[in-house]
């Protein structure tokens, strides 16, 4: 039998997969009566349960889900809830390629996906994995996309058509002749999507496709997916943690927790009830928090994007007038941005805060939280207090919550850099060329003692390379690097590890042992054995630091760290047992388990815990929240914040997570093209739209909302923006026009 394609070409039917054949030309018996033609079939998951071989608990339990053509569904949930397992089952790879027991059904129309071979299932349901490097087999993009159709033995002309179409639909036509190793992360992910699309599936499942992408790259991918949904009527299942960024692009939201569907609603209704989200430990998107905090304004559907929220707020005259007021925000607490040891005056903006608003210093120890937590894990702060010691603002609170310090001291008696005290790190005019490419170009940066500096920029801007100079990965071609006043020598990585802990982005590569317990003791074991000629003084200093770390870990409530619940008690002091340390890391009961049996988020926490066991003075965190759900990420970051504030640790954080920057960083440095473009407090930097545009950064939602409102009022851009929901609400509420 031959099949006629548009254009008049004829091909033997056996050379085209069933999905390619027009319904009217399917061989007899392949199209049961009443079955919808391919491209119009719904994906229906009924009572699906799946248990991995050798496990005692289900990874998925009684999951019901329907995805219609032309619908994009967001599936989210805490780490380990079964999202990736669901993706494997939907794509027909489990249990055929991943051993386990499946109950229930996954039907595409009348076709049972689970009963198909992966090669057949792949033509119905395409799966894009998290790591694009593992999905690209070829050296050239064109060959990569043609790979699937070639395996189907399609004629050359059809293969060429599919390659063209896939590149066009993902906006990757310009990459056709490129080598895959030259692509950026976002480009690789788009090529991976294109290669999957070349199989012409009816359903596309993407498992955390944005996790390694910068915000601009992520938006590129999301726009491609929207086009596929709207133009091709593809059914799309998007599994993601980054709910803020994807919410406006999806039609429906499904919340998974512990392998079960907890919530399945249209996007506009998904957050009407915050209970399921809180219970699952998933933070509400910030625009949703704003809307819930202003019910008198948001009387209709909840906004799904900054644009929608701004449109509603702009209709309220009082809100707009407030946003146009110079010097706003007054009470910007920036989460905790003003507290903590070593806060320095903003470097790039004048102090504009109102001295009359200065607050009394809070207690020196322990989180000073007035009021409870907001839904979703945010902190409700009264009077500008922040966790970890409160504020002492003596004339000159900066808009972003940074401090102008008198005498170099922070409130609460915490450590601060004083005049003459060595900075934690100094990069002075460093330039570095690697592989013929200028990676760093005269970058200069000072990292002050006790501060939390976030280094942000697009992929390839040089952030990780700059940070790597601090541990001696490379030596700059020009310029110098000093850590703690001592020059860093290339190759002295283990020696630098005494004072600098570096958590790699690929935290998995930092795990070497057979059990979680062994990982935590790796450093002390091998440092003593591996370092020859260690001086007794240095050994004593390390021992003292380790004891200090054990004591400070012991003072943190485990419950607070684990689930972001109110910190009801200050825990015990003294040394922490291994089990207690595991609990602090959220790994209780897993001490004997192999690290490779943990989820990605768990492994990340383990890797950092192992570094902290060495009690470094400076921690470099390379994308610490990647792959973690918001609940675990926030608990983890809050724990780090408390460690830093109490014991003067210094953090350099490289991240694409602008919400984490807004919430935790005391200062931000923006990189582009191997240079530092600007430094300042988060509130100031996220107000600098010129800098953000040049560096390919998208500000967090509240900051963008503030800027939108100011723009809609015709006011000049503010010098600093709100960063957290509470400060924004505090600024807006007093100005609401009376009803």
């Amino acid at each position: 039998m031959t099949v006629q394609r548009p254009g008049g070409q004829q091909f033997p039917a056996g050379q085209l997969p069933a999905g390619q054949l027009p319904a009217g030309q399917l061989p007899a018996g392949q199209l049961p009566a009443g079955q919808l033609p391919a491209g119009q079939r719904r994906l229906v998951v009924t009572d699906l349960s799946f248990r991995y071989a050798g496990q005692s608990r289900n990874a998925l339990s009684h999951v019901n889900l329907t995805v219609a053509p032309g619908e994009m569904v967001l599936v989210t949930g805490p780490s380990g809830c079964g999202k990736s397992t669901l993706s494997l089952v939907l794509a027909g790879l489990a249990p055929s390629r991943v051993a386990g027991r499946l109950a229930g059904s996954v039907l595409l129309g009348e076709e049972n996906i689970s009963s198909l071979e992966p090669a057949q299932a792949g033509q119905r349901v395409g799966l894009v994995f998290q790591n694009p490097n593992l999905q690209l087999f070829h050296q050239m993009v064109e060959a990569e996309i043609a790979f699937g159709p070639e395996n189907l033995r399609l004629p050359r002309q059809i293969i060429s058509e599919r390659v063209d179409a896939s590149l066009r639909r993902t906006g990757a036509t310009a990459l056709r002749k490129a080598a895959t190793f030259t692509l950026s992360g976002g480009e690789k992910q788009r090529v991976a999507i294109a290669a999957t699309l070349a199989m012409e599936p009816e359903v596309l499942v993407l498992d955390e496709p944005l996790s390694d992408l910068d915000p601009v790259g992520a938006q590129d991918v999301l726009r491609s997916l929207e086009a596929l949904r709207d133009e091709r009527r593809l059914a799309i299942v998007l599994i993601e943690h980054r709910v803020d960024e994807v919410l406006e692009h999806v039609d429906r939201v499904v919340l998974l927790d512990d392998g079960r569907v907890v919530l399945d609603r249209p996007a506009a209704d998904a957050f009407a009830d915050a209970g399921p989200w809180l219970a699952a430990g998933v933070a509400l998107p910030e625009v949703i928090q704003v809307a819930r905090g202003l019910p008198e304004i948001f009387t209709g559907a909840l906004p799904l994007s900054v644009t929608q929220a701004a449109a509603v707020l702009a209709a309220s005259p009082g809100v707009v007038a407030g946003a146009a007021r110079p010097g706003a925000p007054e009470h910007s607490t920036a989460g905790h941005g003003a507290a903590g040891g070593g806060r320095m005056a903003a470097e790039s903006a004048p102090v504009t805060g109102d001295p009359a608003q200065a607050e009394e210093p809070g207690p020196p120890d322990g989180p000073a939280l007035a009021g409870g937590q907001t839904p979703g894990g945010g902190l409700a702060l009264a009077g500008g207090q922040t966790p970890g010691g409160g504020l002492a603002l003596a004339g000159g609170q900066t808009p972003g919550g940074g401090l102008a310090l008198a005498g170099g001291q922070t409130p609460g008696g915490e450590r601060a850099s004083r005049a003459g005290e060595a900075a934690a790190g100094v990069w002075a005019g460093v330039s570095l060329s690697l592989g013929g490419r200028q990676v760093l170009d005269g970058a200069s940066l000072v990292l002050h003692q006790g501060e939390w500096l976030a280094l942000i920029g697009a992929n390839g801007s040089g952030k990780t390379t700059l940070a790597g100079l601090a541990v001696g990965f490379e030596a700059p071609d020009r310029g110098s690097v000093e850590i703690g006043g001592a020059a860093v020598r290339k190759g002295s990585v283990a020696a630098q590890a005494e004072r600098v802990g570096f958590l790699l982005q690929a935290a998995d590569e930092m795990l070497f042992c057979n059990s979680v317990d062994d990982e935590l003791t790796f450093g002390p074991r091998y440092r003593r054995a591996g370092v020859s000629g260690a001086e007794p003084a240095a050994a004593g200093r390390r021992s003292a630091k380790r004891t200090r770390l054990r004591i400070m870990i012991g003072s943190i409530s485990q419950a607070h760290v684990l689930k972001d619940r109110p910190n009801d008690e200050i825990g015990h002091s003294g040394e922490l047992s291994q089990d207690e340390l595991l609990a602090v890391l959220g790994l209780q009961g897993l001490g004997a388990r192999s690290p490779w049996q943990l989820s990605q988020g768990q492994r990340q926490r383990l890797a950092l815990g192992a570094l902290l066991a060495g009690a470094p003075d400076l921690l470099i965190l390379d994308e610490p929240t990647t792959g973690q759900d918001t609940g675990h990420a926030r608990a983890f970051m809050t724990w780090l914040e408390q460690l830093r504030e109490r014991h003067g640790l210094t953090y350099l954080m490289i991240t694409h997570d602008m919400r984490a920057v807004a919430r935790y960083a005391s200062r931000v440095a923006v990189m582009a093209g191997g240079r530092i473009l600007a430094t300042g407090t988060p509130a100031e930097i996220f107000a600098r739209t010129d800098v953000l545009t040049e560096s390919g950064i998208i500000a967090p939602p509240i900051a963008r909302l503030h800027l939108r409102l100011a723009a809609s009022a015709g006011a000049p851009p503010p010098a600093a923006v709100h960063l957290d929901v509470q400060s924004f609400l505090d600024a807006v509420r007093p100005r609401l026009a009376p009803v």
Partner: protein, 322 residues
């Protein structure tokens, strides 16, 4: 000074120790320093260009590789060296970048010097004559009486054979996209899985090298000291060797597990893209014979005829065992 080095026992011993130890030990250091893992990755990478070599039929290039490999063993060293000189011509057509050229030269020269030197030291002349340098009794414990011209000449011959095969292999890798190689292997009668395995190996070897570098960095970040002592810190070298040796099983775990996990994902992706669904595949790019291909086939035929004649009638027979 010359008299000291050549006329005194101490001087001659110093010279002998330098010849036996310093020259051979410098070579791997030079190789690692100037090439390293990153250099190997760059060396094996396909160089996307549009040259006549790139456009040649990939089957021709694979067959050429096999033919040259066999001839490098069968031919006497004179015709073998002539063949090696001829294989330099395609490199001139390719015009690699200076960075690639530098890597190639180091990649070829360092092992060549090592082989040349080791043969000169340990491939001893049967008649006990023909030494360039006789070592004094103070060096007798290393097991060689001196540096022999006999061995050096033999080393040169073996270098030529190895370089011939290696040079040809690199030329094919640099000028042939892996997809084309897969196509060629299948059109030479091999199943698609062989081509895919070859493809995957070439694609992921650089990734593996990158990961190895990353894992070694991670080990050091955890406090495991892998810094090398200075050459003159002789007492620290045994400890360094011990540390490096102990590190091998430590890094093997994440490397292996990461590779296996990655392999699992790759296998699932390959399955999802229907690899193995049919015994044969179609290809986006097909190769039609061009005039350049016909000329290249003709040249290879001449090469085979010439080589067969040389072997059959013992032209320039191999001096060592024929």
């Amino acid at each position: 000074m010359a008299h000291f080095l050549t006329g005194t026992l101490l001087g001659r011993s110093i010279v002998a120790y330098v010849i036996v130890f310093v020259v051979p030990l410098v070579l791997p250091v030079v190789f690692i320093k100037l090439i390293g893992l990153g250099g190997i990755r760059d060396l094996l990478a396909y160089e996307p260009k549009d040259t006549v070599l790139h456009r040649l039929d990939p089957r021709l290039k694979l067959i050429y590789l096999g033919v040259v490999g066999i001839l490098s063993v069968l031919l006497g060293w004179q015709p073998m060296l002539i063949l090696f000189a001829l294989t330099i011509i395609p490199w001139a057509l390719l015009r690699p970048s200076w960075q690639r050229t530098r890597l190639l030269l180091i990649f070829f020269v360092a092992p060549s010097v090592a082989m040349f030197w080791s043969q000169g030291l340990y491939n001893l002349p049967p008649n006990g004559q023909g030494y360039l340098i006789h070592f004094p009794w103070t060096v007798a414990w290393v097991g060689t009486p001196g540096l022999a011209k006999y061995g050096m000449i033999y080393g040169l011959e073996q270098i030529g054979r190895v370089l011939l095969a290696v040079s040809t292999s690199l030329l094919v890798l640099l000028t042939t996209d892996v997809t084309d190689m897969t196509w060629a292997l299948e059109h030479l009668g091999l199943p698609p899985r062989v081509g895919f395995a070859f493809n995957a190996a070439l694609r992921f070897l650089p990734e593996m090298l990158s990961r190895t570098t990353l894992v070694l960095r991670a080990v050091e970040l955890r406090g495991y000291d892998l810094s090398r002592p200075r050459w003159y810190q002789v007492g620290d070298w045994p400890d360094y060797v011990r540390r490096v040796t102990r590190c091998v099983p430590i890094v093997t775990v994440p490397l292996l597990i990461g590779s296996l996990r990655g392999t699992t994902t790759m296998a699932m992706v390959a399955d999802a893209r229907a690899f193995g669904l049919h015994k044969r595949r179609t290809y986006l790019r097909e190769h039609r014979q061009t005039r350049a291909d016909i000329a290249a086939w003709a040249l290879m035929a001449l090469l085979l005829i010439g080589a067969a004649a040389a072997v059959r009638w013992h032209f320039w027979a191999r001096p060592y065992g024929g």
